[in-house]
Amino acid sequence: MKAVCWYGAHDVRVENVPEPKILSPRDAIVKISLTAICGSDLHLYNGYIPTMEKGDILGHEFMGEVVEVGTDVRSLKKGDRVVVPFTICCGRCFYCQRQLWSLCDNSNPNANLAEKLYGFSGAGLFGYSHLYGGFAGGQAEYARVPFADVGPLKITDGLSDEQVLFLSDILPTGFMAAENCNIMPGDTVAVWGCGPVGLLAQKSAWLLGAERVIAIDDVQERLNLARQHCQAETVDFSRVGDVIETLKELTGGRGPDACIDAVGMEAHGTAIDALYDRAKQAVHLETDRPHVLRQAIQACRKGGTVSIPGVYGGWIDKVPMGAAFAKGLTLKMGQTHAPRYMRPLLERIQRAELDTGFLISHRIPIEQAPTAYKQFNDKAEGWTKVVLNPS
């Protein structure tokens, strides 16, 4: 089968690899009908996530048809159409039982590796490094889905693949980012990053009762999407002198009630600290560039919340902990507990409260994935979200 494989920084290739087989009783095999490239795949593409191996199959946003199930899978059968969450969850551990799905105790075969880096291991993820289990991903014609009786969500009615595909990751991720803001009446939510997750966080903030939503980015077409599709006020950080002062001014001197860092470890910026991060990262003294996180902490009003859906992988410098402490901020973060949100969000899609179709800028055959990775990574004009057709 065709699969998008990682071979190093800026080197992904479409290879012809064997089809997956059932390996455990709770597995299923899914014939993929639609898959996507995620912004977090770009961290892999740029080589910032440790423990990738040459030949690893990428992809964690996918859906398709169940073609085979293991002996212990009763909730799915051949022919079911499913969206697969990017988190692999056993469904029975302390964390799964408490809906903290991305922290599953039992789904990472390389848990000892994650423990060495992070103290404890989270759930296994599809196509996201050996640290997260080394599971083959879904940018392929077929994927093996472990614990298939827990995560995959059946789609039975007439919704199209494009309408539901993003339930696999970016929609729950944007939604959880907004939910983590604990939005109260009158709240202003500022969102750094107008990539797909940032845009969906903006939409979700409205659904959860925000009074105002402010979007921050420097890519014009993304700011346009934020204005047109997410009713956000926008701040172009390359034009305003000082983002924090601008936000203060926009909020009558109070600062946003909640700030969302939908950018993560590869932030771009023009301020002095962004240059410092670039220099340190270039000489391997820092793994992540937390420019946005610093701004969010600094900008947030006293007692507010900083919500972090953007991915961090290692060590960061000069985080203004004093500001976070002095202002009594709440910081919430982590991989998305995707299964917690999939059904309720599917219902919102069915009720036409949520539409994610505006994100898709490119529909291309899987063979063109290497080009798509490059264009998406370069934020080339018009490349917002790529969906891949595997067959």
């Binding site: 455990s24 423990t51 050996h130």
Partner: protein
């Protein structure tokens, strides 16, 4: 049968041994710190633990095994290993299952090879005795008979090898309720005394490098079987390594215990992580 219920402050290590522990532990810690490698840090940590044992006069392994070398101690009849030699390990894990269920699975000793990597088989001979076979490289086997010398249903199992064992060893596992419905805390303590000669060498090779991590991995598999019903795996899944034009030979599981290798390969902007020592 004696169960120590408040063991933390109980002295079960004799005076001479306590002094020896402090001296030996200090030497270990110093040697470990000088090496400045993960192994060295582990050695230093082991040294610290031995120092603590000397300072407090309390040895958790002795406690589990029912050993007491303190001058007025009791329980010497349960001593299973010639003191003070041998390697001792302990590790705990929480299993999100009822204590009775967890105990029952472990008490059926034939289940142990399902999660203990090197254990080939355990044959139950009678209510207390069993025959253990560990597979070793080059088709070698290490075998012994063991007896359960202490058992409290749903709480404790302690066993030791009988005479003529290839490797003298002993162990115990305790089961206790975790707070707030979190399931069962399982604490394993193992002690073994590799002999000189070829069997000792084989055994040292099997368990020598990172014995604590091996116990940890065994316990993790135990938890996975109890909770998820299976051990997660990726062995046999496709990758670009199997692509038709890719014929390179590779290590089968390069990440098994090699964070540093992986990190250097693909952590281009590494901030001298702490585990590099």
């Amino acid at each position: 049968m004696q169960v120590i219920t408040h063991p933390r402050h109980a002295t079960n290590v004799g005076k001479a041994e306590r002094i020896a522990s402090i001296i030996g532990g200090s030497a270990l810690a110093l040697a470990g710190l000088r090496k400045r490698t993960p192994g060295g840090i582990a050695l230093a940590a082991l040294g610290a633990a031995v120092i603590e044992r000397g300072a407090t006069g309390h040895c958790r392994m002795y406690e589990a095994l029912g050993i007491d070398t303190a001058e007025k101690g009791q329980g010497a009849e349960t001593t299973s290993l010639p003191y003070p030699v041998g390697i001792r390990l302990d590790r705990a894990i929480t299993v999100s299952r009822q204590r009775q269920e967890v105990y029952r699975f472990w008490r059926d000793l034939q289940n142990l090879p399902r999660f203990m990597k090197h254990l080939e088989s355990v044959q139950v001979l009678d209510e207390r005795r069993s025959h253990w076979v560990v597979s070793a490289p080059a088709g070698r086997k290490v075998e012994w008979d063991a007896v359960i010398h202490n058992e409290i249903e749903n709480e404790l199992l302690a066993w030791r090898s009988l005479e003529n064992a290839d490797v003298d060893n002993a162990g115990s596992v305790r089961f206790s309720d975790a707070p707030g419905g979190r399931g069962t805390e399982v604490r394993v303590e193992l002690q073994y005394n590799p002999p000189a000669g070829i069997i000792g060498a084989v055994f040292a090779k099997l368990f020598g490098e990172e014995p604590t991590q091996q116990i940890e991995e065994d316990l993790r598999r135990f938890k996975q079987i109890m909770e998820a019903g299976e051990i997660p795996t990726t062995a046999g899944q496709p990758s670009g390594r199997d692509a038709k034009d890719e014929g390179t030979s590779r290590r089968t599981n390069p990440h098994e215990d090699d964070v540093q290798y992986a990190s250097e390969l693909s952590f281009p902007a590494s901030d001298s992580p702490s585990w590099r020592g």
